[in-house]
Amino acid sequence: MEAILVTGTSIDQARGKEHGKLSSQYKASCATLHMTEEDMHTLGVKPGQSVRVTSPHGSVVLTAVKTKEPHAGIVFIPTGPWANQLTGPHTGGTGMPHFKGFKVEIQPAPTEKALDLKEIVKISYGKKKS
Protein backbone atom coordinates (compact mmCIF):
# COMPACT_ATOMS: atom_id res chain seq x y z
CA MET A 1 0.00 0.00 0.00
CA GLU A 2 1.00 3.61 -0.53
CA ALA A 3 1.11 6.07 2.38
CA ILE A 4 2.48 9.47 3.38
CA LEU A 5 5.47 9.20 5.71
CA VAL A 6 6.19 11.61 8.55
CA THR A 7 9.41 11.18 10.53
CA GLY A 8 9.99 12.93 13.85
CA THR A 9 10.59 12.77 17.57
CA SER A 10 8.54 10.46 19.77
CA ILE A 11 8.54 9.99 23.51
CA ASP A 12 9.80 6.40 23.24
CA GLN A 13 12.59 7.42 20.85
CA ALA A 14 13.61 10.29 23.15
CA ARG A 15 13.75 7.94 26.16
CA GLY A 16 15.25 5.06 24.19
CA LYS A 17 18.27 7.07 23.08
CA GLU A 18 19.09 7.92 26.68
CA HIS A 19 19.68 4.20 27.27
CA GLY A 20 22.38 4.39 24.58
CA LYS A 21 22.14 4.38 20.80
CA LEU A 22 23.41 0.80 20.78
CA SER A 23 20.77 -0.36 23.26
CA SER A 24 17.81 -2.63 22.57
CA GLN A 25 15.50 0.14 23.88
CA TYR A 26 16.71 2.51 21.14
CA LYS A 27 16.13 -0.06 18.39
CA ALA A 28 12.76 -1.04 19.86
CA SER A 29 11.64 2.59 19.79
CA CYS A 30 13.10 3.67 16.43
CA ALA A 31 12.95 0.64 14.13
CA THR A 32 9.16 0.93 14.04
CA LEU A 33 6.44 1.94 11.61
CA HIS A 34 3.45 3.51 13.37
CA MET A 35 0.17 3.07 11.52
CA THR A 36 -3.56 2.91 12.24
CA GLU A 37 -5.54 -0.28 12.71
CA GLU A 38 -7.34 0.50 9.45
CA ASP A 39 -4.04 0.76 7.53
CA MET A 40 -2.80 -2.43 9.18
CA HIS A 41 -5.93 -4.22 8.06
CA THR A 42 -5.49 -2.91 4.49
CA LEU A 43 -1.89 -4.11 4.49
CA GLY A 44 -2.70 -7.44 6.17
CA VAL A 45 -0.26 -7.15 9.06
CA LYS A 46 -0.61 -7.29 12.82
CA PRO A 47 1.30 -5.30 15.50
CA GLY A 48 4.79 -6.72 15.97
CA GLN A 49 5.06 -8.10 12.43
CA SER A 50 7.71 -6.94 9.96
CA VAL A 51 7.01 -4.54 7.11
CA ARG A 52 9.29 -3.27 4.34
CA VAL A 53 9.02 0.45 3.63
CA THR A 54 10.41 1.80 0.37
CA SER A 55 10.87 5.39 -0.81
CA PRO A 56 12.60 6.74 -3.93
CA HIS A 57 15.74 7.03 -1.76
CA GLY A 58 15.94 3.66 -0.04
CA SER A 59 14.26 0.76 1.69
CA VAL A 60 14.16 -0.50 5.28
CA VAL A 61 12.51 -3.28 7.30
CA LEU A 62 10.64 -2.16 10.43
CA THR A 63 8.28 -3.55 13.06
CA ALA A 64 4.65 -2.49 12.68
CA VAL A 65 3.14 -0.62 15.66
CA LYS A 66 -0.54 0.25 15.98
CA THR A 67 -1.14 3.92 16.81
CA LYS A 68 -3.90 5.19 19.05
CA GLU A 69 -4.64 8.32 17.03
CA PRO A 70 -6.73 8.15 13.87
CA HIS A 71 -4.76 9.34 10.88
CA ALA A 72 -5.22 6.67 8.23
CA GLY A 73 -2.98 7.03 5.22
CA ILE A 74 -0.27 8.77 7.25
CA VAL A 75 2.45 6.60 8.77
CA PHE A 76 5.15 7.64 11.22
CA ILE A 77 8.73 6.51 11.87
CA PRO A 78 10.66 7.98 14.82
CA THR A 79 13.76 10.00 13.93
CA GLY A 80 16.87 7.87 13.63
CA PRO A 81 19.01 5.81 11.28
CA TRP A 82 16.09 3.55 10.28
CA ALA A 83 13.89 6.49 9.21
CA ASN A 84 16.81 8.09 7.41
CA GLN A 85 17.27 5.11 5.10
CA LEU A 86 14.16 6.55 3.39
CA THR A 87 14.76 10.33 3.43
CA GLY A 88 16.37 12.09 0.48
CA PRO A 89 19.31 14.51 0.59
CA HIS A 90 17.84 17.21 -1.68
CA THR A 91 17.34 20.50 0.18
CA GLY A 92 15.84 22.77 -2.49
CA GLY A 93 18.51 25.39 -1.77
CA THR A 94 17.57 25.66 1.91
CA GLY A 95 19.97 23.21 3.58
CA MET A 96 16.98 21.22 4.83
CA PRO A 97 16.23 17.72 3.53
CA HIS A 98 12.66 16.50 3.17
CA PHE A 99 11.95 14.65 6.44
CA LYS A 100 8.15 14.80 6.44
CA GLY A 101 5.24 14.28 4.09
CA PHE A 102 6.50 12.16 1.22
CA LYS A 103 5.12 9.02 -0.39
CA VAL A 104 6.32 5.55 0.57
CA GLU A 105 5.32 2.03 -0.44
CA ILE A 106 4.70 -0.46 2.38
CA GLN A 107 4.67 -4.26 2.02
CA PRO A 108 4.39 -7.09 4.56
CA ALA A 109 7.83 -8.66 5.12
CA PRO A 110 7.12 -11.89 7.04
CA THR A 111 10.55 -13.41 6.34
CA GLU A 112 12.61 -10.32 7.24
CA LYS A 113 13.35 -8.45 10.45
CA ALA A 114 14.63 -4.99 11.33
CA LEU A 115 18.41 -4.71 11.49
CA ASP A 116 20.09 -3.39 14.63
CA LEU A 117 22.20 -0.22 14.57
CA LYS A 118 25.55 -1.99 14.22
CA GLU A 119 24.24 -4.02 11.25
CA ILE A 120 22.88 -0.88 9.55
CA VAL A 121 26.19 0.93 10.05
CA LYS A 122 28.14 -2.04 8.69
CA ILE A 123 25.94 -2.46 5.61
CA SER A 124 25.13 1.15 4.72
CA TYR A 125 28.16 3.19 5.76
CA GLY A 126 31.93 3.07 6.04
CA LYS A 127 35.17 4.01 4.34
CA LYS A 128 35.52 3.22 0.66
CA LYS A 129 37.48 0.03 0.03
CA SER A 130 40.71 0.97 -1.75
Binding site: K21, H71, G80, P89, H98
Partner: protein, 433 residues
Protein backbone atom coordinates in the same frame (compact mmCIF):
# COMPACT_ATOMS: atom_id res chain seq x y z
CA UNK B 1 24.83 13.50 49.67
CA UNK B 2 24.41 16.92 48.04
CA UNK B 3 21.15 18.47 46.86
CA UNK B 4 21.58 20.93 43.99
CA UNK B 5 18.65 23.32 43.55
CA UNK B 6 17.62 25.53 40.62
CA UNK B 7 19.53 23.28 38.25
CA UNK B 8 19.15 24.16 34.56
CA UNK B 9 18.16 21.17 32.44
CA UNK B 10 20.33 20.55 29.37
CA UNK B 11 17.96 18.35 27.41
CA UNK B 12 15.62 20.37 25.19
CA UNK B 13 15.20 24.03 24.25
CA UNK B 14 12.89 24.63 27.25
CA UNK B 15 16.01 24.72 29.47
CA UNK B 16 13.85 24.36 32.62
CA UNK B 17 15.69 26.05 35.50
CA UNK B 18 13.98 24.51 38.53
CA UNK B 19 15.39 20.98 38.71
CA UNK B 20 16.47 19.58 42.07
CA UNK B 21 19.25 17.03 41.63
CA UNK B 22 20.69 14.88 44.40
CA UNK B 23 24.23 13.54 43.97
CA UNK B 24 26.10 11.02 46.08
CA UNK B 25 29.63 9.65 45.58
CA UNK B 26 29.90 11.20 42.13
CA UNK B 27 26.57 9.80 40.91
CA UNK B 28 23.15 11.31 40.33
CA UNK B 29 20.73 9.47 42.61
CA UNK B 30 17.60 11.62 42.36
CA UNK B 31 16.20 14.08 39.80
CA UNK B 32 13.21 16.02 41.10
CA UNK B 33 10.99 18.11 38.75
CA UNK B 34 12.68 16.67 35.65
CA UNK B 35 10.37 15.56 32.82
CA UNK B 36 10.52 11.88 31.97
CA UNK B 37 12.89 12.51 29.02
CA UNK B 38 15.32 14.50 31.21
CA UNK B 39 14.97 11.95 34.02
CA UNK B 40 16.13 9.19 31.64
CA UNK B 41 19.10 11.33 30.58
CA UNK B 42 20.13 12.23 34.13
CA UNK B 43 19.79 8.74 35.56
CA UNK B 44 21.07 6.70 32.58
CA UNK B 45 23.95 8.62 31.05
CA UNK B 46 26.59 7.45 33.52
CA UNK B 47 25.80 3.83 32.68
CA UNK B 48 26.05 4.38 28.93
CA UNK B 49 28.73 7.09 28.59
CA UNK B 50 32.17 6.47 27.04
CA UNK B 51 35.18 6.81 29.32
CA UNK B 52 38.24 6.64 27.08
CA UNK B 53 39.20 7.90 23.61
CA UNK B 54 39.01 5.42 20.74
CA UNK B 55 41.01 5.64 17.51
CA UNK B 56 40.83 3.54 14.37
CA UNK B 57 44.14 2.08 13.17
CA UNK B 58 44.22 -0.07 10.01
CA UNK B 59 40.45 -0.47 10.21
CA UNK B 60 40.57 -1.65 13.84
CA UNK B 61 39.04 0.45 16.66
CA UNK B 62 41.08 0.54 19.86
CA UNK B 63 41.27 2.58 23.04
CA UNK B 64 43.98 5.24 23.07
CA UNK B 65 45.43 7.85 25.41
CA UNK B 66 43.95 11.33 25.25
CA UNK B 67 47.30 12.60 23.97
CA UNK B 68 47.33 10.08 21.09
CA UNK B 69 43.70 10.84 20.20
CA UNK B 70 44.23 14.61 20.22
CA UNK B 71 47.38 14.24 18.15
CA UNK B 72 45.63 12.11 15.51
CA UNK B 73 42.59 14.43 15.48
CA UNK B 74 44.79 17.48 14.89
CA UNK B 75 46.65 15.70 12.06
CA UNK B 76 43.35 14.78 10.33
CA UNK B 77 42.02 18.33 10.54
CA UNK B 78 45.26 20.11 9.64
CA UNK B 79 45.69 17.91 6.56
CA UNK B 80 42.18 18.68 5.24
CA UNK B 81 41.59 21.21 2.47
CA UNK B 82 37.89 21.79 3.19
CA UNK B 83 36.74 20.26 6.49
CA UNK B 84 33.21 20.38 7.89
CA UNK B 85 32.80 21.23 11.58
CA UNK B 86 29.27 20.10 12.42
CA UNK B 87 26.90 19.62 15.35
CA UNK B 88 27.30 21.98 18.35
CA UNK B 89 23.68 22.05 19.60
CA UNK B 90 24.39 20.00 22.74
CA UNK B 91 27.45 21.86 23.92
CA UNK B 92 28.16 25.23 25.51
CA UNK B 93 28.32 28.61 23.78
CA UNK B 94 31.92 28.91 25.00
CA UNK B 95 32.80 25.70 23.10
CA UNK B 96 31.02 26.94 19.96
CA UNK B 97 33.11 30.13 20.08
CA UNK B 98 36.34 28.07 20.04
CA UNK B 99 34.88 25.90 17.25
CA UNK B 100 34.33 28.97 15.08
CA UNK B 101 37.97 30.02 15.54
CA UNK B 102 39.03 26.49 14.59
CA UNK B 103 36.86 26.60 11.44
CA UNK B 104 38.44 29.91 10.47
CA UNK B 105 41.94 28.56 11.08
CA UNK B 106 41.17 25.49 8.94
CA UNK B 107 39.42 27.39 6.13
CA UNK B 108 36.47 25.02 6.53
CA UNK B 109 32.74 25.25 7.13
CA UNK B 110 31.02 25.37 10.51
CA UNK B 111 27.37 24.33 10.56
CA UNK B 112 25.03 23.38 13.38
CA UNK B 113 22.16 20.92 13.54
CA UNK B 114 19.86 23.91 13.02
CA UNK B 115 20.41 23.41 9.29
CA UNK B 116 18.33 20.20 9.67
CA UNK B 117 15.79 21.56 12.19
CA UNK B 118 14.83 25.25 12.28
CA UNK B 119 17.31 26.62 9.71
CA UNK B 120 14.52 27.39 7.21
CA UNK B 121 12.78 29.43 9.92
CA UNK B 122 15.91 31.56 10.26
CA UNK B 123 16.03 31.97 6.47
CA UNK B 124 12.39 33.07 6.60
CA UNK B 125 13.21 35.65 9.27
CA UNK B 126 15.88 37.10 6.93
CA UNK B 127 13.10 37.58 4.40
CA UNK B 128 10.21 38.93 6.47
CA UNK B 129 11.53 39.70 9.99
CA UNK B 130 10.12 38.23 13.16
CA UNK B 131 7.66 39.33 15.84
CA UNK B 132 8.62 37.47 19.00
CA UNK B 133 9.03 37.67 22.78
CA UNK B 134 10.32 35.73 25.80
CA UNK B 135 8.52 32.72 27.24
CA UNK B 136 7.82 34.74 30.42
CA UNK B 137 5.63 37.12 28.41
CA UNK B 138 3.66 34.18 27.03
CA UNK B 139 3.11 32.81 30.53
CA UNK B 140 1.96 36.18 31.88
CA UNK B 141 -0.22 37.36 28.99
CA UNK B 142 -1.17 34.82 26.30
CA UNK B 143 -4.86 33.94 25.99
CA UNK B 144 -4.57 32.14 22.63
CA UNK B 145 -1.83 29.57 22.10
CA UNK B 146 -1.44 27.79 18.78
CA UNK B 147 0.94 24.84 18.49
CA UNK B 148 1.67 24.28 14.80
CA UNK B 149 3.47 21.23 13.42
CA UNK B 150 4.85 20.18 16.79
CA UNK B 151 4.18 17.67 19.56
CA UNK B 152 5.06 19.41 22.84
CA UNK B 153 3.76 16.70 25.17
CA UNK B 154 6.40 14.33 23.76
CA UNK B 155 9.24 16.57 22.58
CA UNK B 156 9.09 19.55 25.00
CA UNK B 157 7.35 17.93 27.91
CA UNK B 158 7.20 20.86 30.35
CA UNK B 159 6.63 23.61 27.77
CA UNK B 160 2.88 23.71 28.39
CA UNK B 161 3.08 23.58 32.17
CA UNK B 162 5.94 26.05 32.64
CA UNK B 163 5.56 28.56 29.83
CA UNK B 164 2.24 28.37 28.04
CA UNK B 165 -1.22 26.77 28.20
CA UNK B 166 -1.18 25.26 31.70
CA UNK B 167 1.08 27.79 33.42
CA UNK B 168 -0.14 30.45 35.83
CA UNK B 169 1.00 33.93 34.85
CA UNK B 170 0.65 37.46 36.17
CA UNK B 171 -2.50 38.17 34.14
CA UNK B 172 -3.70 34.61 33.41
CA UNK B 173 -4.89 32.11 35.99
CA UNK B 174 -3.89 29.07 33.95
CA UNK B 175 -5.51 26.70 31.46
CA UNK B 176 -9.05 28.06 31.99
CA UNK B 177 -7.92 31.53 30.87
CA UNK B 178 -6.38 30.31 27.66
CA UNK B 179 -7.58 28.82 24.39
CA UNK B 180 -5.27 26.16 22.90
CA UNK B 181 -5.34 25.13 19.22
CA UNK B 182 -3.25 22.36 17.68
CA UNK B 183 -2.55 22.51 13.93
CA UNK B 184 -0.92 19.37 12.57
CA UNK B 185 -1.08 16.69 9.91
CA UNK B 186 -1.13 14.09 12.72
CA UNK B 187 -3.52 13.66 15.58
CA UNK B 188 -0.68 13.35 18.09
CA UNK B 189 -0.87 12.98 21.88
CA UNK B 190 -0.57 16.77 22.22
CA UNK B 191 -3.94 17.33 20.56
CA UNK B 192 -5.64 15.71 23.59
CA UNK B 193 -4.65 18.74 25.66
CA UNK B 194 -5.98 21.24 23.09
CA UNK B 195 -9.43 22.78 22.75
CA UNK B 196 -9.36 22.04 19.05
CA UNK B 197 -7.26 20.07 16.55
CA UNK B 198 -7.10 21.37 13.01
CA UNK B 199 -5.80 18.46 10.96
CA UNK B 200 -4.25 19.49 7.64
CA UNK B 201 -3.51 17.49 4.52
CA UNK B 202 0.23 16.68 4.61
CA UNK B 203 2.37 19.26 2.79
CA UNK B 204 -0.42 21.88 2.59
CA UNK B 205 0.58 24.22 5.44
CA UNK B 206 1.52 27.02 3.02
CA UNK B 207 -1.90 26.98 1.34
CA UNK B 208 -3.68 26.85 4.70
CA UNK B 209 -1.70 29.79 6.13
CA UNK B 210 -2.47 31.92 3.09
CA UNK B 211 -6.18 31.05 3.29
CA UNK B 212 -6.06 32.15 6.93
CA UNK B 213 -4.40 35.43 5.88
CA UNK B 214 -7.26 36.08 3.47
CA UNK B 215 -9.84 35.34 6.16
CA UNK B 216 -8.11 37.68 8.60
CA UNK B 217 -8.36 40.48 6.01
CA UNK B 218 -12.10 39.69 5.76
CA UNK B 219 -11.70 38.56 2.16
CA UNK B 220 -13.95 35.75 0.93
CA UNK B 221 -12.52 32.27 0.42
CA UNK B 222 -13.62 30.96 -2.96
CA UNK B 223 -12.67 27.32 -2.27
CA UNK B 224 -14.91 25.09 -0.15
CA UNK B 225 -11.91 23.71 1.66
CA UNK B 226 -8.17 24.35 1.87
CA UNK B 227 -5.67 21.71 3.01
CA UNK B 228 -8.61 19.46 3.91
CA UNK B 229 -10.15 22.08 6.24
CA UNK B 230 -13.62 23.49 5.43
CA UNK B 231 -13.66 27.26 4.72
CA UNK B 232 -16.08 27.89 7.63
CA UNK B 233 -13.56 26.35 10.03
CA UNK B 234 -10.80 28.58 8.61
CA UNK B 235 -13.00 31.64 9.14
CA UNK B 236 -13.75 30.53 12.72
CA UNK B 237 -10.04 30.22 13.44
CA UNK B 238 -9.40 33.64 11.87
CA UNK B 239 -12.06 35.17 14.16
CA UNK B 240 -10.52 33.51 17.19
CA UNK B 241 -7.09 34.90 16.29
CA UNK B 242 -8.30 38.43 15.57
CA UNK B 243 -10.35 38.57 18.77
CA UNK B 244 -7.70 37.36 21.23
CA UNK B 245 -5.80 39.80 23.45
CA UNK B 246 -2.37 38.19 23.16
CA UNK B 247 -1.80 35.28 20.81
CA UNK B 248 1.24 33.22 19.92
CA UNK B 249 2.12 30.55 17.38
CA UNK B 250 4.68 28.01 18.57
CA UNK B 251 5.83 26.19 15.46
CA UNK B 252 7.78 22.97 15.20
CA UNK B 253 9.71 21.22 12.48
CA UNK B 254 6.37 20.19 10.98
CA UNK B 255 6.66 23.49 9.09
CA UNK B 256 10.39 23.35 8.26
CA UNK B 257 10.71 19.63 7.44
CA UNK B 258 7.82 19.45 4.98
CA UNK B 259 7.22 20.72 1.50
CA UNK B 260 7.59 24.52 1.42
CA UNK B 261 10.18 24.65 4.26
CA UNK B 262 11.32 28.31 4.64
CA UNK B 263 8.32 29.59 2.67
CA UNK B 264 5.97 27.91 5.19
CA UNK B 265 7.61 29.85 8.02
CA UNK B 266 7.76 33.10 6.01
CA UNK B 267 4.01 32.73 5.42
CA UNK B 268 3.41 32.06 9.14
CA UNK B 269 5.46 35.13 10.13
CA UNK B 270 3.52 37.19 7.56
CA UNK B 271 0.27 35.88 9.07
CA UNK B 272 1.45 37.13 12.47
CA UNK B 273 2.39 40.50 10.91
CA UNK B 274 -1.16 40.77 9.49
CA UNK B 275 -2.64 39.88 12.87
CA UNK B 276 -0.68 42.68 14.54
CA UNK B 277 -2.79 45.15 12.53
CA UNK B 278 -5.75 43.88 14.57
CA UNK B 279 -4.37 42.58 17.91
CA UNK B 280 -1.14 41.47 19.61
CA UNK B 281 0.33 38.31 18.07
CA UNK B 282 3.76 36.65 18.20
CA UNK B 283 5.58 33.62 16.84
CA UNK B 284 8.36 31.39 18.19
CA UNK B 285 10.08 28.19 17.01
CA UNK B 286 10.07 25.16 19.33
CA UNK B 287 13.85 24.67 19.32
CA UNK B 288 14.94 21.10 20.03
CA UNK B 289 18.38 20.69 21.59
CA UNK B 290 19.20 22.70 24.68
CA UNK B 291 21.69 25.03 22.96
CA UNK B 292 20.69 24.90 19.30
CA UNK B 293 19.55 28.51 19.70
CA UNK B 294 23.03 29.24 21.11
CA UNK B 295 24.70 27.92 17.94
CA UNK B 296 22.84 30.56 15.92
CA UNK B 297 23.49 33.32 18.48
CA UNK B 298 27.21 32.64 18.83
CA UNK B 299 27.81 32.20 15.09
CA UNK B 300 25.91 35.43 14.42
CA UNK B 301 27.87 37.50 16.94
CA UNK B 302 31.16 35.97 15.83
CA UNK B 303 30.72 35.87 12.04
CA UNK B 304 27.55 37.77 11.13
CA UNK B 305 25.76 34.59 10.01
CA UNK B 306 23.62 32.12 12.03
CA UNK B 307 24.71 28.71 10.61
CA UNK B 308 26.38 27.13 7.56
CA UNK B 309 29.32 29.57 7.73
CA UNK B 310 32.07 28.97 5.16
CA UNK B 311 35.62 30.26 5.78
CA UNK B 312 37.21 28.81 2.62
CA UNK B 313 37.63 32.27 1.07
CA UNK B 314 39.37 33.58 4.19
CA UNK B 315 36.27 35.47 5.35
CA UNK B 316 32.82 34.26 6.44
CA UNK B 317 30.26 33.39 3.74
CA UNK B 318 26.74 32.05 4.21
CA UNK B 319 24.56 30.41 1.61
CA UNK B 320 22.24 27.63 2.83
CA UNK B 321 21.86 25.06 0.07
CA UNK B 322 25.51 25.58 -0.84
CA UNK B 323 27.37 25.86 2.49
CA UNK B 324 24.99 23.74 4.61
CA UNK B 325 26.11 20.34 5.88
CA UNK B 326 23.72 17.99 4.04
CA UNK B 327 24.40 19.72 0.70
CA UNK B 328 28.19 19.77 1.18
CA UNK B 329 28.23 16.10 2.13
CA UNK B 330 25.82 14.99 -0.60
CA UNK B 331 28.03 16.66 -3.20
CA UNK B 332 31.12 15.04 -1.65
CA UNK B 333 32.92 18.37 -1.23
CA UNK B 334 34.38 17.98 2.26
CA UNK B 335 37.53 15.94 2.83
CA UNK B 336 37.37 15.62 6.65
CA UNK B 337 34.92 16.32 9.45
CA UNK B 338 34.89 17.32 13.10
CA UNK B 339 31.58 16.36 14.70
CA UNK B 340 30.78 17.88 18.09
CA UNK B 341 27.83 16.91 20.31
CA UNK B 342 25.77 15.37 17.53
CA UNK B 343 25.02 12.11 15.69
CA UNK B 344 24.71 13.00 11.98
CA UNK B 345 25.11 9.39 10.81
CA UNK B 346 21.80 8.64 12.55
CA UNK B 347 20.05 11.92 11.82
CA UNK B 348 20.95 12.87 8.25
CA UNK B 349 19.51 11.27 5.09
CA UNK B 350 21.61 8.20 4.43
CA UNK B 351 23.16 9.42 1.16
CA UNK B 352 24.66 12.42 3.03
CA UNK B 353 25.59 10.26 6.05
CA UNK B 354 27.28 7.74 3.75
CA UNK B 355 29.50 10.45 2.25
CA UNK B 356 30.36 11.56 5.80
CA UNK B 357 31.33 8.02 6.75
CA UNK B 358 33.75 7.86 3.79
CA UNK B 359 35.94 10.79 4.91
CA UNK B 360 38.27 11.00 7.95
CA UNK B 361 36.15 11.92 10.93
CA UNK B 362 36.84 13.19 14.47
CA UNK B 363 34.05 13.04 17.05
CA UNK B 364 33.71 14.83 20.42
CA UNK B 365 30.72 13.23 22.15
CA UNK B 366 30.12 11.80 25.64
CA UNK B 367 28.14 8.72 24.57
CA UNK B 368 28.50 5.93 21.99
CA UNK B 369 26.53 6.57 18.80
CA UNK B 370 26.18 5.58 15.14
CA UNK B 371 28.69 8.34 14.30
CA UNK B 372 31.00 7.00 17.03
CA UNK B 373 31.06 3.58 15.36
CA UNK B 374 32.51 5.18 12.22
CA UNK B 375 34.73 7.94 13.64
CA UNK B 376 38.50 7.67 13.13
CA UNK B 377 38.93 9.43 16.47
CA UNK B 378 36.26 9.51 19.20
CA UNK B 379 37.11 11.65 22.22
CA UNK B 380 34.49 11.40 25.01
CA UNK B 381 33.90 14.77 26.68
CA UNK B 382 32.22 16.16 29.80
CA UNK B 383 28.43 16.73 29.65
CA UNK B 384 27.46 20.41 29.83
CA UNK B 385 25.18 21.17 32.76
CA UNK B 386 26.09 17.94 34.56
CA UNK B 387 29.86 17.42 34.49
CA UNK B 388 30.91 20.96 33.57
CA UNK B 389 29.43 24.43 33.42
CA UNK B 390 28.71 26.49 30.31
CA UNK B 391 26.30 29.04 28.85
CA UNK B 392 23.27 27.87 26.87
CA UNK B 393 20.48 29.81 25.14
CA UNK B 394 16.86 28.85 25.86
CA UNK B 395 14.53 28.62 22.82
CA UNK B 396 13.46 32.26 23.30
CA UNK B 397 17.07 33.47 23.23
CA UNK B 398 17.55 33.92 26.99
CA UNK B 399 21.14 32.95 27.97
CA UNK B 400 21.52 30.77 31.08
CA UNK B 401 24.68 29.65 32.88
CA UNK B 402 24.44 25.94 33.69
CA UNK B 403 25.84 24.25 36.79
CA UNK B 404 28.39 21.52 37.33
CA UNK B 405 26.90 18.76 39.50
CA UNK B 406 29.52 15.99 39.46
CA UNK B 407 33.10 15.54 38.28
CA UNK B 408 33.61 14.08 34.80
CA UNK B 409 35.68 10.87 34.38
CA UNK B 410 39.48 11.32 34.36
CA UNK B 411 39.86 11.32 30.56
CA UNK B 412 36.75 13.39 29.82
CA UNK B 413 37.19 17.15 29.68
CA UNK B 414 34.81 19.97 28.66
CA UNK B 415 34.46 20.55 24.91
CA UNK B 416 35.90 24.05 25.40
CA UNK B 417 39.17 22.64 26.74
CA UNK B 418 39.44 19.86 24.12
CA UNK B 419 38.71 22.27 21.27
CA UNK B 420 41.21 24.85 22.61
CA UNK B 421 43.85 22.11 22.73
CA UNK B 422 42.95 21.00 19.17
CA UNK B 423 43.16 24.60 17.97
CA UNK B 424 46.67 24.99 19.39
CA UNK B 425 47.81 21.73 17.78
CA UNK B 426 46.27 22.65 14.41
CA UNK B 427 47.97 26.07 14.48
CA UNK B 428 51.28 24.39 15.27
CA UNK B 429 50.89 21.84 12.45
CA UNK B 430 49.76 24.39 9.88
CA UNK B 431 52.52 26.79 10.94
CA UNK B 432 55.09 24.04 10.42
CA UNK B 433 53.86 23.10 6.93
Amino acid sequence: MTVHTQVICTLCGCACDDLEITTENGRIVKAKFACSNAYERLTCFQQVRSYNPVITVNGQRREASLEAALSKAAEILAAAKYPLLYGWSNTSSEAIRVGIELAEELGGVIDSTSSVCHGPGIEAAHEVGESTCTLGEVRDRADLIIYWGCNPTQAHMRHMSRYSSHSKGRYREGRKDRKVIMVDVRNSLSSRTADQLIQLTAGKDFEFINALRLAIRDEALEADEVAGVPSEKIEELADLMVNCEFGIIFFGVGLTHSSGRDENVAAAISLVRDLNMRTKFLIMPMRGHHNVTGTNKVMTWQTGYPFAVDFSHGYPRYNPGETSAVDLLSRGECDAALIVASDPIAHMPHQAAKKLSEIPMVLLEPIPSATGLLADVHIPVAVVGIECTGTIYRMDGVPLLTKKLIDPPKNCHPDTEVLSDLLKRVKRLKGAS
